[in-house]
């Protein structure tokens, strides 16, 4: 078990994801197909065992890359590869910055959003995790360079949570929720909510 800030962040995320699995399942059940909670929880367990296997002092980029690979190579669904693309961009930005800095967070979020939109073609307002990720990227880009990492995470989390909350009011145009029409109204998008959980885990 490592104790680097990156590992702590991801471990906290996995704990929250497992705690919240029933809520995420219920949301995807109400306006989707019910597998989102299990998918994210499965990923969380795999990431925990990856983190357990890392030696102390593993560079932040490698820690994040390990989680990215879990999502990319071992988790299916729509959400698996999309979260993988996001974490992969976090890892790349962390390599570039030399550590998980606020700048790396901003760049990772921005590039992760771009990659997710290239692959999934969702726009803000389609009721997907893009509705949380996009405002988070905007909020991070607006921060002064000197912002401490935990505060940057907090700002991103707040923006993502607000974006996620807004998804409750709309029908979906993409993802499984797009098939259920008005049944999606009143239901927060679980993918967007999980983006909020990911950032909040860094605070």
């Amino acid at each position: 078990m490592t104790d680097s800030p990156a590992a702590d962040w991801l471990r906290r995320f996995t704990t929250t994801a497992l705690d919240r699995e029933p809520d995420l399942t219920a949301l995807d059940q109400a306006a989707g197909d019910g597998d989102f909670g299990a998918n994210i929880a499965g990923a969380a367990r795999l990431i925990q065992s990856e983190l357990d296997g890392l030696v102390a002092g593993t560079p932040a980029a490698e820690v994040i890359a390990a989680a990215a690979h879990v999502f990319l190579d071992r988790v299916g669904g729509t959400s698996g590869p999309l979260f993988g693309l996001l974490l992969q961009e976090f890892a790349a930005a962390t390599v570039k910055a030399g550590d998980l800095t606020p700048a790396a967070l901003t760049e990772g979020t921005t590039n992760g959003l771009a990659a997710i939109q290239r692959v999934g073609e969702a726009q803000v307002g389609d009721k997907t995790l893009v509705d949380a990720l996009s405002p988070a990227a905007d909020a991070l880009k607006a921060l002064p360079p000197s912002t401490p990492l935990t505060e940057a995470f907090a700002v991103a989390a707040r923006a993502a949570e607000e974006g996620a909350e807004a998804t409750a009011g709309i029908r979906a145009r993409r993802g499984r929720a797009s098939y259920v029409g008005d049944h999606a109204i009143g239901v927060t998008d679980p993918g967007a909510m999980t983006i909020g959980l990911l950032f909040a885990a860094g605070t």
Partner: protein, 332 residues
């Protein structure tokens, strides 16, 4: 509520696949990680490997259609979750032939993404890879849905016809053209009188009024938003048939292959009764039901519902339908 005979959603898939492999060891080989099923005795004339897959919970699709005359490999994901790209990549590598690999993909974002990443990796390895997308569900043909129609019951028709064509030694481009033609000529619509049991919670995935029918349900139990009363079955089948005939712009004398598909707990008596009504409704349109299949072949766990599918056919397609196939679930 009725719990599944399994310890957990993951056990439902893992024990189910292990048992499937054991039961059909003569037909298929199962690789647990990354999970995929491959055919033991594909037709030696094949020059292209046929791969499909998707979330589990739709059995016998797809593993039940792996074998001579149909798929070379299938990649089962977790319940209702697309397989991850490494499953698709490994399965494709295992069955790629000199002419490459063809992916039969149901039109869902997750499936498209995961098969898409695998295709990139295959290209990187110098393996030709193409895709046929099945998007037959008329209930999702709407300007409000940016991702287009879902892929549902007609997938098994596409897999059968492509399998027979692959056995003739057709190349990748020819198979893509054929698959696109079949998919374009296929439409389905599904209804449910009761939701499937969620393996995560052990409770019905959605509630319907006692006398309600969800018209236009998805194979992951996605509700349609349209509930109608449980009226005369003749009327229900006539409406469903009409929507397929309209979507395919069928006119008198057109020829079709029809599929009456149970979504899980629908009984054989119901399905055959629906087939009888479907045939009658098609006759009213003057459409010739040239071939048919009745059974639970593309399911949604234990949902009580059924889908009707039509595929335009001609001499070529009907001959492909009639070609022999030897898999766990194709009725020989």
């Amino acid at each position: 509520m009725s719990r599944y005979f399994a310890e957990s959603p993951d056990d439902l898939v893992d024990a189910g696949l292990a048992g499937f492999a054991l039961a059909h060891a003569d037909l298929v080989e199962f690789t647990p990680d990354p999970g995929h099923v491959t055919a033991r005795s594909p037709d030696p004339r094949r020059v292209v490997g046929l791969v499909s897959g998707g979330g589990s919970g739709h059995e016998p699709l797809h593993a039940g259609f792996v074998g001579a005359g149909m798929l070379d490999a299938a990649c089962p994901g977790r319940i209702f979750a697309s397989p991850h790209n490494r499953q698709v990549y490994a399965a494709s590598k295992a069955v790629a032939k000199p002419g490459g690999v063809l992916h039969v993909v149901k039109n869902y974002t997750g499936d498209k993404i995961n098969f898409g990443i695998a295709a990139e990796r295959l290209h990187h390895d110098g393996i030709r890879c193409a895709r046929v997308l099945v998007d037959d569900d008329v209930a999702t043909d709407s300007a409000d849905i940016a991702v287009g129609r879902r892929g549902t019951g007609a997938t098994v028709v596409v897999e059968k016809l492509l399998g027979a064509a692959a056995d003739q030694g057709r190349d990748l481009d020819a198979l893509v053209a054929l698959g696109e033609r079949v998919a374009a000529g296929s439409r389905s619509v599904a209804v449910a009188a009761a939701a499937h049991t969620s393996p995560a919670t052990g409770t019905p995935a959605f509630d319907l009024p006692d006398d309600g029918i969800e018209y236009g349900v998805g194979i992951h139990g996605e509700r349609s938003g349209a509930v109608r009363p449980h009226g005369p079955v003749d009327d229900l089948v006539r409406d469903m048939t009409g929507s397929l005939v309209t979507a395919l712009t069928l006119t008198r004398g057109d020829r079709v292959i029809g599929l009456v598909n149970g979504l899980g707990r629908t009984t054989p008596l119901e399905l055959y009764g629906l087939h009888h009504r479907f045939a009658t409704a098609l006759a009213e349109h003057g459409v010739a039901l040239e071939r048919h299949l009745v059974g639970s072949v593309v399911t949604a766990l234990d949902m009580h519902g059924f889908s009707l599918s039509l595929t335009r056919t001609d001499d070529e397609l009907t001959a492909l339908w009639d070609a022999p196939a030897h898999t766990a679930a194709w009725p020989a």
